[in-house]
Amino acid sequence: MQIIYTDVLVIGGGLAGQRAAIGAKRRGHDVIVLSLVPAKRSHSSAAQGGMQASLGNCLGAAGDNEDIHFTDTVRGSDWGADQEVVRMFAHTAPKAIRELTAWGVPWNRVQRGDHEITVNGEKQTVTEADAAHGLITSRNFGGTQKWRACYVSDGTGHAMLYTMSNQAIAENIPVHERMEAMALIHEDGRCCGAIVRNLMTGELLAYVAKATCIATGGFGRIYRVSTNAVINEGMGAAIALETGIATLGNMEAIQFHPTGIFPAGILVTEGCRGDGGLLLDAQEHRFMPDYEAEKAELASRDVVSRRMEEHIAAGHGAQSRFGEHLWLDIRLLGKQHINTNLREVKEICQYFLGIDPVTQLIPVRPAQHYSMGGVRTNHRGESPQLRGLFSAGESACWDMHGFNRLGGNSVAETVVAGMIVGETMADFCDSTAGALNISTALVEKFGRRQQQLLSGISDTGGSESAFELLKLMQETMTGNVGIFRHGERLQEAVTTLQSLQQRSQHIRLRSSAAGANPELVAAYRVQRMLKLAQCVAYGALQRTESRGAHFRADYPQRNDLEWMRRTLATWPDKNAMLPTLDYETLNIMNMEIPPGWRGYGAKDYIEHPDTARRQQQIDSVLQGMEGANRHTQQETLMPFKHLLPPHLRGNNQRLGDEQ
């Protein structure tokens, strides 16, 4: 088996992986990026509407800053997020966008003068200031107090990923394309690289690295209806889980996006609603204000998706030959706006639905969209259990989204996390802990194990079809572990998944094609996906409360008293039929914002006694600090800057600030 040596191995060629790679490379370390597909085809490219960063340039963003971005994100998370991480993120997001600007992303800019905008179905005229002309503009998104989503038409992810990839090429970072990490090599709690399969030839090889970073994105494809690309099968999270040592955090926290086109599940951006689009029912009645008086279509995604499903269940869905759905109406935005700011949406409607959204309604229904959970890391992106293992982006749970992510916070997170975790890995490689002492015998052992696993699948003597098992898993997840969850249905899902796990040990391959063999790929992936699905279903079953996107019809209240806890899943025994769940407490007494009402959604929650205590503490601290600036106040309540790499600690300048 060929062994390739490098300092840093990044698994995943999306925004997070490539930015982490650039960071480590700039610190003088050799880096190799592995990618299932050509890096520019990664799922980051599918992000449409925008990247959240509190630049505060345009009128709708005036007065925005890190504090408001922080508050919105914590509320969005339904207090499930790690507030220190959210602070690090909100502080670094403007830097991330400015770096990308220098690298070439053609962000849409503020145009001085009068503009017609659409708010609450009505036209208004706003006037942008001369001083802001030519700075990066932003649009409105759900769950935010300001227009904060910076965008490149509705191809934001595409523009960001191309710029990032080109920068990685400029930095001479090799991307080994069509390579799949099959297992992490580890010994005595130290990760030292991965066994990798070449998806063109089927050959196994080993990559030995001081630092290994999982940046493989989400695992939406465990669901039948998902906006995710077909490659989002969670193999990075799965190989971390299969070490039996690394933990996965909050796997039950799954986001459903309100506007997947029906029935294909292809995403149309939240920017449609941010720019003034409306949700209508079968009678073409705008129903969201009936449920959410204040935020209407622009409440957070978990709330809007739930309201939509509730409305369909109440009999207001539009009928079609594929089932029921609702309508997204962007006609009121006008042709000019759609043709310039929502052109990908227009193309998607045209090609997949055969409609023109300038004159016709778009059929939509919530679809699985994002995995808040993932490989548990600390605020620096390090696995607390497995030294030398790191994770960044959607595949990680460091944990800035808690139980619901805000739109536009994911692409922002990818770049910010890449900026931070790249430095963490460089620090690690520079330190004595980074030195690697590894025997090739160990590498061979892990390689042989994968080889045996693959030949075992080709020779089970069973009769199951990998594709069939995949379908059954996806049906189970969409049917039983979706937006509305219930103990009985979750129990049913856990049992079904267990039986599928058993059946997946008896797959029969019909093809023995030379090379990668797509059927073999499906077979080993479905075995791993079933484990991830089980972490989601079992974690959801155990979490007897409702928080963010995790809604239990049988436990409809958020329960801070018992559930200010993050779920940690491990799979120590490879023959076990369930993950081992453990929990870590989120300490309210360390929070900058103790749990409260989000400003949208249900107002009904069970309070923790610490909430009042912490609030009192905060109030008295702030009382003694009248006149101090916001940075000093914040620093006193919950210091975070020391957690950031030194070059990312500076304050962010905004329009009107002194340089």
Partner: protein, 247 residues
């Protein structure tokens, strides 16, 4: 909105695929036909997945986003390059012939190595902003301004998804392995337009001022006709040629 159900007989599609697995020394390129019952709103993504799952699990093809965004699934569909994921079978006749994109290394069946080709093109043309002191630039201070219209023009050229359809549709690319094609030339015009890139026309001439570059184009316009993103490729090439001819 009640609809009267009308029973329509589903079409049987005859999908003929050019098969070859270079990993298998026994494999000979051949055409193989699969029959498939057409479903509502069926795309070639759905059809090919169905064939792989139910008829021939060894069939190789590439899909990623299945939404026309990532550029993975370029192939020759009834003689014309296009994105398979957003091609609806209802827009095609009963007999559909699929072949891999020419000019790229074949991985197997409909899967070709566009990634390797595009990376080579990017390295050759240095498709990134060339700017002094990029690493030292402050990321704390206000970003440099840009005219809103210019940003929109840049995005217009940056919408390219590197799917390879323009290369497959290009006469020169079939004859000259080193021709960088419309995808490459378009990217040069994108960076030329970008004030952040400090390269001069003389620098660009070094990159594209010969027959492997802008002077290799025979103006057959296949690239623009076949571009799934309708990029103004012919105009950009003509513009670039004029600029380069005057260097």
């Amino acid at each position: 909105m009640k609809q009267i159900p009308v029973k329509q007989l589903a079409r049987t599609l005859h999908i003929q695929i050019l098969r070859h697995n270079p990993c298998d020394p026994q494999s000979e390129p051949r055409l193989q036909t699969f029959e498939l019952e057409e479903a509502d709103a069926m795309t070639l993504f759905i059809a090919l997945s169905d064939i792989r799952e139910n008829q021939d699990p060894s069939l190789q093809f590439d899909f990623v986003c299945r939404a026309g965004i990532c550029g993975s699934c370029g192939m020759i569909i009834n003689g014309r390059p296009g994105l398979a994921c957003r091609t609806l079978t209802k827009d095609l006749p009963d007999r559909i012939t699929l072949a891999p994109l020419p000019a790229f290394e074949l991985i197997g069946d409909l899967s070709v190595n566009t990634g390797k080709w595009m990376r080579g093109m990017s390295e050759q043309l240095e498709t990134w902003v060339h700017s002094q002191g990029l690493e030292q630039a402050s990321i704390d201070t206000l970003e440099a301004t840009m005219e809103p219209e210019l940003a929109e023009q840049l995005y217009e050229l940056e919408r390219c998804i590197e799917c390879g359809c323009c290369i497959a549709a290009c006469g020169t690319a079939q004859m000259r392995e080193d021709f960088i094609g419309a995808v490459g030339l378009n990217q040069i015009t994108r960076f030329q337009l970008d004030p952040r890139d400090q390269r001069s026309d003389a620098d660009y001439y070094q990159l594209v001022g010969d027959d492997s570059g802008v002077f290799g184009c025979m103006t057959l316009l296949g690239c623009e006709d076949m571009c799934p993103k309708q990029l103004p490729l012919a105009t950009q090439i003509a513009f670039l040629r004029r600029r380069m001819a005057s260097v």
